[in-house]
Symmetry: C2
Subunit: 438 residues, 2 copies
């Protein structure tokens, strides 16, 4: 069979990894795909052109990315430049030229996926993006194909390795957030500007994609609620552990009667859940389907070779589909384009979860009764209370409460009233909880 | 698009689950697949015909399975009868009639898959078998497609739920094997004849399939080494825990320079590994690829609806491929048929693992030196030794040793010599160990 000709945009970390995988495993990949895959044309900055190994496997190299997407010899364009522009323009031009596209660009898909998929649909080409979510874990394939028989109920994922590394270090060593982050930056695990990772924006990009795939809704990044981990304190990690929980930064999407939840935030989960034991930079996605029950997918969520693993798997998939009738291909968002529905995404106020609450309250009779009274009036029931001993000379004590499930708006009202109590000092720490059991 | 017509063979547990999933999720599945899937013709025993719910969704029902595979209206035959015969004859006749086949029959694929795939290849049809390994977990899709870029190094899986349930109960509650098995049988988790599950035959069927998919070798069930869990004692579970290990019944296949290992046996694994925390009836498969690193796939390995989830996903896949050029489809065993190689499967004597050893030895000076001397002569190094206190009035003590990696044949020689020592009483308990870390 004819070889497949790749046009590769970007020879940075993932681009370099892709060259490595395509060259090192060329024979084995061809044994599977039934044809050779060769990089016919690549575009890279001069800096990357000099440092890339395996460059001799690349047919032609340029610094003009548009020359690659316009090259008539190229069958499949791999976009590994990242960011919105010129990635968006390049991908749209490749589509317009009738080429299939493989991308690892989560931000691009989360924000411009609807436009890109519509263009691809019209041209009868495929845009594959396995590498955009959870790196090497084939979670998009699992959702779109492996679980195609299921009514998906919810997904909860650890989909940012940097955040999970920080939380794991905080738990294992009792360290604080800023300390671990500084070290992670020094070691190169975290970016110089860590906002995307620790504030949950990167996870929200990925969750936006997962939610669309699970529920057949358009990509709506702007409706995904995002809360980071930068305010998690070592004492909350420790109190959670005492109560049998771990704190993970989860992306959660759930179908409810009222609409679809899309939210990224720190979450207490029971320590016996498998996903609670996913540590360090590893990612995992837990999917609950009505037929299959819970399934979990675990692996490296980033890195040159793991991400390249997903990129190249997409290339093999797309190569196989080159002769397929486009209407029989797996749809971009798992559901046929005319079957995407506008089920509303719930604002966070309408989302129902349980809560871990930590108050600092005066250690004096009657205080607890006042707090309990407000919670009762707001219809919030408490599952557990833990009062710590006051430190010597301290008049205030930490008070930990675990609530049953309640709407966020109602909890906000109750917390505002409790914070207004004279006996309660400072802001109440509030971390959402999920049982992840059904 | 035209609906897809299914011929369904068997309306027992999984057949009933398949009818449930196809009817309950019909709309959602059609939104994904772009066409309706309907059960045009089903064959079942009279007993099953009476108890099945959703039977009104089935076009025509018969007790003659051959009538279904000969029905010209049927596009895809789903074989859920189980066993070797007449399943094999039915599948081959369906293929001969030019129909695609979906099966959950692990025994059939492990023993007759080579013949079946060759026939399918010749006829240009697909035989899909996702449900044959690890129930609802889309592990076959992950191996064949999601990890297609990787040189697979090894796979280790908990692929029998009954065995994992028994080992979990033994660990959590200190119970003994026979006791838990009897309860599992009473609860319906274990078969009246538990041999297939507890002696590892069922797991070996599944491992045979995983090994072929990972390494591109023919299915060779007869070369898969199998050791069950019926001889695991509560004290070994407890000693393993003290040393930081859990005992799991694993199917392991690994590529080495000398050949491919294929083995099912109880295995000590470090308790911090994610797969060590897969408990109860759940399954998990850990796959190590050279690019992606370790990835793990977790979920229900059996049961009506989880298995049906995999069956129906295969139906959607096959339906999508109906118009594909057969040479572009995903090959049955992951590698193109002419790329299947005859890499030898290693006999267990040639397999290298670490070992947990439990001896019962006279509590007397010099005994340990004698044992250590034999191990040293055989070139076996010991990583840890733990000697227990003798029970009051006992002259013998349990002696636990963890060895470094060594070939099985060499360990067998050493153990035979140690068992012959006068100071050592009875048989030495030997459980293989794996780090599963690289």
């Amino acid at each position: 069979m004819e070889p497949v000709n790749i046009g590769l945009l970007g020879l940075g970390t993932v681009g370099g990894g892709t060259v490595t995988v395509l060259t090192r495993n060329a024979a084995e990949i061809a044994r599977r795909a039934g044809r050779d895959i060769r990089i016919a044309h690549a575009a890279a900055r001069a800096y990357d052109q000099e440092r890339i190994s395996g460059i001799e496997a690349i047919g032609r190299i340029t610094d003009d990315a548009f020359a690659v997407v316009d090259d008539p010899k190229v069958d499949i364009v791999i976009e590994l430049i990242g960011g919105y522009s010129p990635a968006r323009e390049l991908v749209l031009r490749a589509i317009d030229n009738g080429k299939h596209v493989v991308t690892a660009n989560k931000a691009l898909i989360a924000l411009h996926g609807n436009e890109i998929f519509a263009a691809a649909q019209e041209k009868g080409v495929t845009v594959a993006f396995e590498a955009a979510v959870a790196g090497g874990i084939p979670i998009i394939k699992a959702l779109r194909e492996g679980l195609a028989a299921n009514h998906i109920e919810w997904i909860a994922g650890i989909i940012n390795g940097t955040g999970n590394y920080i939380l794991t270090e905080m738990r294992d060593k009792g360290r604080d957030f800023g300390d671990v982050l500084a070290e992670a930056q020094a070691l190169g695990y975290a970016e110089a500007d860590p906002t995307f990772d620790v504030e949950g924006i990167d996870a929200a990009h990925k969750l936006t994609i997962l939610g669309s795939l699970a529920f057949g809704i358009p990509l709506q990044f702007d409706k995904t609620f995002t809360e980071g981990i930068s305010r998690i304190e070592p004492q909350d990690v420790a109190f959670a552990a005492e109560l049998g929980y771990r704190i993970k930064h989860l992306g959660i999407t759930r179908r409810t009667d009222a609409g679809i939840e899309m939210r990224v935030h720190p979450t207490l989960i029971p320590h016996r859940r498998l996903i609670a034991n996913v540590d360090g930079v590893m990612n995992a996605v837990l999917v609950k389907g009505d037929a299959v029950g819970p399934t979990l997918y675990y692996g490296a969520g980033a890195g040159a070779l793991p991400t390249a693993s997903a990129v190249v798997a997409d290339v093999v998939d797309v190569a196989r589909a080159l002769t397929t009738d486009p209407t029989n291909r797996v749809p971009h968002l798992a559901f046929q384009p005319d079957e995407i529905t506008d089920t509303p995404v719930l604002p966070i106020d309408e989302v129902e979860t349980a809560y871990y609450l930590r108050l600092t309250a005066l250690d004096r009779p009657g205080v607890m009764a006042g707090i309990a009274g407000i919670l009762g009036e707001e219809g919030i029931s408490i599952e557990a209370i833990k009062q710590k001993e006051p430190a010597p000379g301290e008049t205030h004590v930490p008070l930990i409460m675990l609530s049953h499930r309640v709407k966020e708006a109602r909890m906000n009202r109750a917390l505002a009233r409790i914070e207004a109590l004279e006996a309660v000092s400072g802001e109440i720490v509030r971390i959402r909880m999920e049982g992840l059991d059904g």
